[in-house]
């Protein structure tokens, strides 16, 4: 099947004009007589003419589109961020091409290369949890492709970045558990490579040390696939639960890890918070409806997307190379609910 849209050439032919004249008439150039303009505009409207964006892109060397590369769109944080990105993009006349890495390094590279080959004017990137080799993105960036990192940033490239204060968020979340009387707090994090993992784990450690809590390196666990796979969470949880130093609370550092821990506790009949308290990073909008209602660290995903898109478009439209870069750090929100509430068996510290 083929879809043949009307072109400027078709209009020129039927109206007995040249393509240049039609083009100028449509762009309301002063060198076209009012009568000709009217004829052209009327006919174009009638035939529902739209300029071919592909031809424009080729000519202008820009596509008026931005690429977004995230690990998964079926993830509340990212879909909310994309909403923020779209709101800005639409307003500024860009459209958004979304690609998923699924936390897979090879998919990330091929997605980047597709986006790169001039089909987008810039890229918003949140790297996959597998990625430790940044040569593809570095290569693109050094050749002049505007890139803004959000959430999971690439330290090695010097550009705008939009993140949450992960350190403080984890610090506060851990503190909240400590205040509620929990003593043996474990931390289950995303892949160790990720910036967000490091920052969150650091926040957790600092809180534990500041409050002089017993702290054991074994109580920090990593899920290389970010909890996407239930079994990796199961394994980590089994280890924690069966260890002689069984934790009484846990902080989960990603959306999927959070929900998979809840699933685990339900399956294994580990009552929350009585037997294990928990708080997790999550952007799901129904954590209040879970059983028990879930204490969460919520990231301002929509705002992050918005800000990242604004920075990217500024970069794209800047005439001269951008030299000083911003790292926007937004605060996360701590929402206290039943899953981390004080339990009677725990004496206040």
């Amino acid at each position: 099947m083929k879809f043949e849209a009307i072109t400027i050439k078709d209009i020129a032919k039927t109206l007995g004009l040249s393509t240049s004249t039609v083009s100028r008439a449509l762009r309301d150039s002063y060198e076209i007589s009012p009568e000709t303009k009217a004829r052209v505009i009327e006919y174009a409207r009638e035939m529902n003419y739209r300029p071919n964006p592909i031809a424009l892109s080729l000519k202008e060397k820009r596509s008026s589109s931005i690429g977004v590369l995230v690990s998964e769109i079926a993830n509340s944080f990212f879909s909310q961020a994309i909403n923020g990105i779209e709101s800005v993009a639409q307003q500024k006349g860009y459209n958004v091409v979304i690609a998923q890495s699924k936390e897979d390094f090879n998919r990330e590279v091929s997605a980047l290369q597709y986006l790169a080959s001039r089909s987008v004017d810039g890229i918003l990137l949140s790297v996959s949890s597998e990625t430790s080799d940044f040569s593809t993105i570095n290569g693109l960036y050094s050749k002049g492709m505007p890139v803004v990192c959000f959430d999971r940033v690439v330290e090695s490239i010097d550009t705008h970045k939009v993140i949450v204060d992960n350190f403080l968020a984890a610090y506060n979340a851990t503190n909240h558990l400590i205040k509620n009387g929990y003593k043996k707090i474990a931390c289950i994090s995303n892949a160790a490579l990720l910036s967000i993992s490091r920052e969150r784990v650091e926040g957790y450690k600092k809180a534990m040390i500041d409050k002089k809590m017993p702290f054991d390196e074994k109580s920090v666990c990593y899920c290389p696939h970010g909890g996407l796979i239930y079994e990796e969470v199961e394994e980590v949880m089994n280890q924690l639960i069966k260890s002689k130093n069984r934790p009484d609370a846990v902080i989960a550092c990603s959306d999927k890890i959070t929900t998979n821990i809840m699933r685990y506790c339900k399956l294994k009949k580990v009552p929350i918070p009585e037997s294990l308290a928990m708080i997790g990073f999550s952007n799901l909008d129904l954590t209040e409806l879970l059983s028990p209602s879930l204490s969460v660290v919520r990231q301002p995903a929509y705002e992050m997307g918005k800000k990242a898109a604004e920075l990217l478009i500024t970069m794209i439209e800047s005439k001269r190379p951008v030299l000083d870069f911003e790292t926007v750090i937004l605060p996360a929100e701590l929402i206290q609910r039943a899953s981390s509430a004080k339990t009677k068996t725990v004496k206040k510290a």
Copy 2:
């Protein structure tokens, strides 16, 4: 900022060849000598040359990309469907451009028009709940743009369609409530215009009539925004709860309606299922973790996306106009959990 990728012209210049020769060498044409081929291929590899897809699109009049238009990607059903779509697209060498209507007719029209202007080779469409005027999509389709509808279909266009057996799903869900002893069952549906709404409401009605249950037209309610806005669900629920014929169970016909009813019941302290049983259409993957665990009708979203994408790509690649169309009807899954369980106060019917 500008990103200048290497072109065939650059290669030609440095190697002292013509663009045609380079092009042919890269496509392994027989009329290029092995030595020249080797030179060109080696240099292209070295410089990481990629053909400009925009130039290709212009020349070939195809973009090797398909457009997906859904109401919202931050919706489990659609994000799962998109995953299915992407899996097929990637395998067949297409990339996916995603657009959201946010249930807004104007956004839908402008998204369609963007996709239309030759930037995609075909469109996968699930219409917005506001749409009653299908002239844009009809116009595109009649001009030869391949379109496949999924989930929310447009009856007036004759093309491939991929849906769930909504009638049967709602029939079974209603029956399930009846079997568990509920008598006054209300149905809260998405916008009345949508195909899925009509089919689901019909299934509900049929079950009520078959089982000789008291049936009142007032027990069918509609949310024009598909439950996206909490307040519209609140209003409907207030009416139902306060009516003299207060229902003892409810069937919710969309994801957002389902979760917003739960939110309502939690806020208003309406115990589920004791005071109001419920079952809802939902593709969330943590409905088991809700309080109470939620009975759901689950759609095979991933498979629907896959099938729809396959049909679309077949249409796109078909040499002659496709004339006989398929309507693929997949079964939904009924998952019984606590929210619709029998309660002691209800005698078995």
